[in-house]
Subunit: 226 residues, 2 copies
C-alpha cells in the first residue's frame, strides 16, 4: 500500500518516515520549499530520502514568504533561549496555516496515487506550541479530507497517521535509533549559521538537544553554541 509522507529533513519527520517504512508502506516522500530561510532543510530532506532509498520524492515550491508573518519566512528574529515551560504561548516561528497547506497538498497527491494513508511527524508533547500540531486539529483535518475528495465520498477513508503525536522527544530519538535512522543527515535548527551548523539556542535546537540528552544518546550534529 502506498503512503504519502511529509519529509522536512528534521528529526521528527525523518523518524516518522522510518516508522512508515517499518509498517511496510510503499513510500512517497513530499517536501515543501516554502520560502523558509534555511535551504539546508531541503538538502537534509534530500539526503534523508536518499538514505532510505525512496524512489518517489516530490519537492513542491510554494511561496508562503509572499504572505509574510513568520520568523521562519520573514525578516523577524528567531527567539533564542525562550522559556518553553509556558507552552500556551505561540512563538513568532509559527508559520500561518502551514500544516493545513502541507496536508492539503499531501491529500491531493495521495488521491492521484490511489493512496489513503498520509504520515505527518507532528508531536503534541515536546513541541513549540503550534495549534496545528494538536490531535484535535489532525482529527478535524482528516474529516475534512474525507468530505473534500472523490475518493472520500466513494466510501474509502483517508487516514492521517501521526505516529509521534504522543511521544516525548527522547522517545522519538530512541525509536528512530532502533529503526536505524542516521540523525547526522537531519536538520532541526530555525537559525543555522552560514555553514549550516545549528545554533543550539532556538526552540527547535533546545528540544532536540534535550531529547538526545534524556535518551542518553549523543546528537551527531555540530552546534555553533551550546
Amino acid at each position: 500500500m502506498k503512503a504519502v509522507v511529509l519529509v522536512s529533513g528534521g528529526l521528527d519527520s525523518t523518524t516518522c518516515l522510518a516508522m512508515a517504512r517499518e509498517k511496510g508502506f510503499d513510500l512517497y516522500a513530499l517536501t515543501f520549499n516554502y520560502g523558509q530561510r534555511h535551504d539546508h532543510e531541503l538538502n537534509s530532506a534530500k539526503m534523508v530520502v536518499d538514505f532510505f532509498n525512496i524512489q518517489n520524492h516530490s519537492i513542491i515550491d510554494i511561496d508562503l514568504a509572499q504572505f509574510g508573518g513568520s520568523a521562519l519566512t520573514d525578516q523577524i528574529d528567531v527567539p533564542k533561549k525562550r522559556d518553553l515551560s509556558d507552552m500556551a504561548d505561540i512563538p513568532v516561528t509559527y508559520v500561518p496555516a502551514r500544516n493545513t497547506v502541507f496536508l492539503s497538498l499531501a491529500l491531493a497527491w495521495a488521491e492521484v496515487l490511489g493512496s489513503f494513508d498520509i504520515f505527518i511527524g507532528v508531536n503534541a508533547l515536546d513541541y513549540s506550541g503550534y495549534p496545528d500540531c494538536r490531535p484535535e486539529y489532525i482529527s478535524s483535518f482528516e474529516k475534512t479530507a474525507n468530505l473534500a475528495t472523490k475518493a472520500g465520498v466513494s466510501g474509502s477513508s483517508f487516514r492521517i497517521h501521526t505516529p509521534l503525536i504522543d511521544l516525548t522527544k527522547s522517545e522519538i530519538v530512541k525509536v528512530g535509533m532502533d529503526l536505524g535512522v542516521d540523525y547526522s543527515l537531519t536538520s532541526s535548527c530555525y537559525d543555522p549559521n552560514q555553514e549550516g551548523n545549528p545554533c543550539g539556542l532556538c526552540d527547535a535546537c533546545y528540544l532536540r538537544l534535550k531529547g538526545f540528552k534524556e535518551a542518553g544518546i549523543i546528537d551527531p550534529l555540530n552546534y555553533s553554541n551550546q
Copy 2:
C-alpha cells in the same frame, strides 16, 4: 474589515467578489496558477481584479500538474456534451483536493492580514458534482481552520463565506448583473480554443450558457461552437 476572496476569473468567483464588495469588505484577491491548461483564466482574473479596482492581488504558483490526475492539469481529454442530469458522477475535470489547497492558502494569507473572512464562489446546485463544493465540506473546513490557527485558538473565528452556494446559475448571473459585473471579462470554459474563445460544449460552458439563457440575458462571450 479585510476579506480574502478566491478569484479564478470565472463567472462564479467574479460574482462572489462583487458580493463581498457589496458587503463593504476591504478586498484581498487571491488567484492560483496551478498548472491549469488555460492561461487565459489567469488573464481573466487580472482583468476582473482591475475592473473592481482592487489594490491587493496575490497570484500564487502551485504546480498541481506535478501530481497529475485531472483533465484540467493533465493530458486527459475534457468531456464534451456530457449528461449532467446525473450529478453523482464526478467527472475527470475534478482536480484532486483543489478547494482544500486553495482554502488553506487563503487561510494562511488571512491570518497574516488579521482577517477572519474568506470568500469562495462554490455552488452546490448548478455544478459539476465536485465533492469540495458541498456545504458539509465547507463547514468542516471552517472547523479545521479554527483549530489550525493561532488566531482561531485565541478566541477569534474564521468564517468561510459561500454566498453562491444555494443559488442557481441564472440567479448568480442576475445578482452579478445587478452588482455591475462585466461578464465579458470572465472565463469559464475548460477547453477554450487558441484565441481563448470558449468551446460551448464542456460542463462549464453548458452550465454558464444555461444560466444566461434562464436569466434572459445574453452571454457577452464569443463561443467557438454553440
